[in-house]
């Protein structure tokens, strides 16, 4: 009764010895890695040699999935060679990109042994003790940062500076106020100047120049400018850059007193300017009188 049990126990032990051929540093499995220190992201060269008997074939299970968080398989190469003892050696050359920081052990893998018929004869999980030291790209050991300089304290205490600040601000405010008032006064006085009076003065001067021998066409040109300038200031219309028709339209809209006389003067001036009309001295003088009359009657602002 005891014999079959003993035999069974012996067979079980023999089977265990097959699967547990190598665990941490199994015989016939060599793992080398170079260089042993790299920067993060650099590549390391890993060589795995697997020795086997003549009637065996050997491979690494799911080699493509060898990548882990710390290593990324970049490329692989496999070669085989015969051993003088009669067996063979399978060499796997792997290129791995190293990530993570500090000492990183190479990822574990499983070696599969097969008989010449293809059936699996053994599976050996390997946890290589070869490791790579991965350094960070930046040197976290820098300790030469200068400490932040504390803010400088004012040489004068704030209590002493406060009156000076108030005085300067007050002075600036006062200057601005004076400037503002000055501007208002100037604007008000400018507004008080009646454009009619200015135009009358200019017309009187023009009359004296005409008497002094000014050619009538020039007189009309000047008259047109005086009238346009007056209309622009008095009625706030664009007259200096406008043509007579545009002025006519604007004045009509405003219902200006003496509209017909104004237009008649501007049209006469247009005839002289653009139609080669040659008025005589008398005509020019009459036009000047007419213009003075128009301006006098239009004294009351319409707007």
């Amino acid at each position: 009764m005891l014999l079959p049990l003993l035999l069974a126990a012996m067979i079980g032990l023999a089977g265990q010895s097959v699967t547990a051929r190598a665990v941490l540093a199994p015989r016939g499995i060599t793992v080398r890695v170079s260089p042993d220190t790299v920067l993060v992201g650099d590549r390391v060269h890993c060589v795995i040699d697997l020795e086997h008997s003549a009637d065996e074939r050997v491979s690494i299970e799911r080699l493509d999935t060898l990548s882990t968080n710390q290593f990324e398989l970049v490329s692989r190469k496999q070669s085989a060679s015969a051993l003088p003892s009669g067996g063979g050696r399978e060499r796997f050359e792997l290129e791995l990109a190293a990530f993570g920081l500090g000492r990183q052990l190479l990822p574990p893998f499983t070696v599969v042994y097969r008989a010449s018929g293809g059936q699996v004869t053994g599976r050996v999980p390997v946890k290589p003790d070869a490791a790579v030291f991965v350094k960070a790209l930046t040197d976290s050991t820098m300790h030469e940062l200068r400490p932040i300089k504390p803010p400088e304290k004012p040489s004068l205490p704030f209590v002493l500076l406060l009156p000076v600040i108030i005085a300067v601000s007050g002075g600036a405010g006062l200057v601005l106020l004076v400037l503002f008032l000055l501007r208002r006064i100037l604007t008000a006085s400018a507004e008080k100047i009646d454009p009619g009076q200015v135009a009358q003065r200019k017309l009187r001067k023009l009359g004296s120049r005409l008497s002094a021998g000014m050619p009538p066409p020039e007189c009309y040109e000047e008259l047109s400018n005086i009238m346009r300038s007056f209309l622009e200031k008095r009625y706030r219309i664009r007259a200096l850059e406008a043509v007579t028709q545009e002025i006519e339209r604007d004045l009509k809209k405003l219902g200006v007193a003496g509209f017909e006389s104004i237009m008649s003067l501007l049209k006469q001036a247009d005839l002289v300017k653009f139609a080669d009309s040659r008025p005589d001295q008398e005509e020019s003088r009459n036009s000047l009188h007419k213009a003075e009359e128009v301006i006098r009657t239009a004294r009351t602002p319409e707007v």
């Binding site: 200096l240 850059e241 545009e246 002289v272 653009f274 040659r278 005509e283």
Partner: protein, 332 residues
């Protein structure tokens, strides 16, 4: 006060010679509701031998205006629909082989008419556009080895749709420049639309347009227009306006400098003067005033000014630029 004696005489002749315009305008008004400005521009172009580029959405009576105009003026009218597959020969004509006489003879194309409506000119390729624009400029057409003068008066009205750009060939600036005016045709007013609707919504045939003018009247008017007086002040004003499109800073409009990619060509000055003369003629005046110049400035300059990138970004069109220029260039 009157103007110089020679202008007085010219004024009387102009009043007499411009009567035909009133008759033609009255005849046009029988068929066309509104669009007075467009009609006035067509008359101006015809009076000074210019051509017009009409821009407006479809259905604004562009064709009707031109067809009626030609009929009232007793002129031969041709409408040419420009298409992408058109060839220059379809426009100007071609050499045809005559087997009886065993020789080639020229067959004149539709361009041989007094009034041409080049509908949707931007639908045809550049070579067809060039053929028409060359005919407009030279006023003659060469078919094979023979050169034929185009009939007088010769007026081209080209239309283009401002909205559709797909499948179109945009007219190059150099060719657009040959058009005396670019007229924008706008929608009619509410009342005009009402009148158009009542007038057109009928199956009865329309009364034919009566020819009320003889081509000779136009030729006579042209000789008088050439004699219209242009004061040196107005001459300078025209040049000032055109130069201001190129160097606005010189006229106190420095902000426009960045808005204009390029300004109007010297052709603009020529056409501005010619169109102003025609405008004065239509007002029965023997001299030009700045009013005449301002009246046609938009139509004469808008296609000759190219707004720059900044202007486009701010949605500033060439009309806005012209408005600024007219407001800032001092009127004599």
């Amino acid at each position: 006060m009157q103007y110089a004696a020679e202008l007085e005489e010219l004024g009387l002749q102009i009043t007499e010679a411009s009567r035909f315009l009133e008759k033609a305008q009255a005849e046009l008004a029988r068929r066309i509701v509104g669009q007075e400005e467009v009609i006035r521009r067509v008359f101006i172009a015809m009076l000074v031998n210019g051509h017009i580029l009409l821009e407006g959405v479809p259905g604004l009576a562009k064709t009707l205006i031109i067809r009626t105009f030609a009929a009232a003026m007793n002129l031969k009218f041709q409408r040419i629909q420009f298409t992408p597959d058109m060839l220059p020969a379809d426009l100007v004509g071609t050499m045809i082989y005559n087997p009886k006489e065993m020789e080639f003879s020229a067959r004149k194309g539709p361009v041989f008419a007094n009034v041409i409506l080049a509908d949707e000119i931007n639908r045809s390729p550049a070579k067809v556009q060039s053929a028409l624009l060359e005919a407009m400029q030279e006023r003659q057409v060469t078919i094979g080895t023979q050169t034929f003068p185009l009939p007088e008066p010769f007026l081209v009205l080209a239309t283009q749709n401002p909205i559709e750009h797909e499948g179109t060939y945009i007219l190059p600036e150099a060719q657009v420049d040959r058009f005396m005016m670019k007229v924008l045709v706008d929608y009619p007013s509410y009342d005009e639309e009402l009148e158009i609707m009542l007038q057109s919504a009928s199956t009865e045939p329309k009364e034919p347009v009566m020819p009320v003018v003889q081509p000779n009247d136009i030729m006579k008017a042209r000789t008088l227009i050439d004699r219209i007086y242009v004061d040196p002040r107005v001459q300078r004003y025209i040049v000032d306006l055109v130069v201001a499109t190129r160097k606005p800073a010189q006229y106190g409009i420095a902000p426009l400098e960045a808005m204009i990619e390029y300004g109007a060509s010297p052709r603009a000055s020529i056409f501005l003067l010619l169109a102003s003369k025609a405008h004065a003629f239509m007002q029965q005046r023997p001299y030009i005033t700045p009013e005449d110049v301002k009246a046609i400035a938009y139509d004469t300059l808008r296609h000759r000014i190219r707004p720059g990138y900044e202007a486009e970004a701010d949605n500033i069109r060439s009309d806005d630029i012209i408005r600024q220029i007219l407001q800032h260039v001092p009127v004599p």
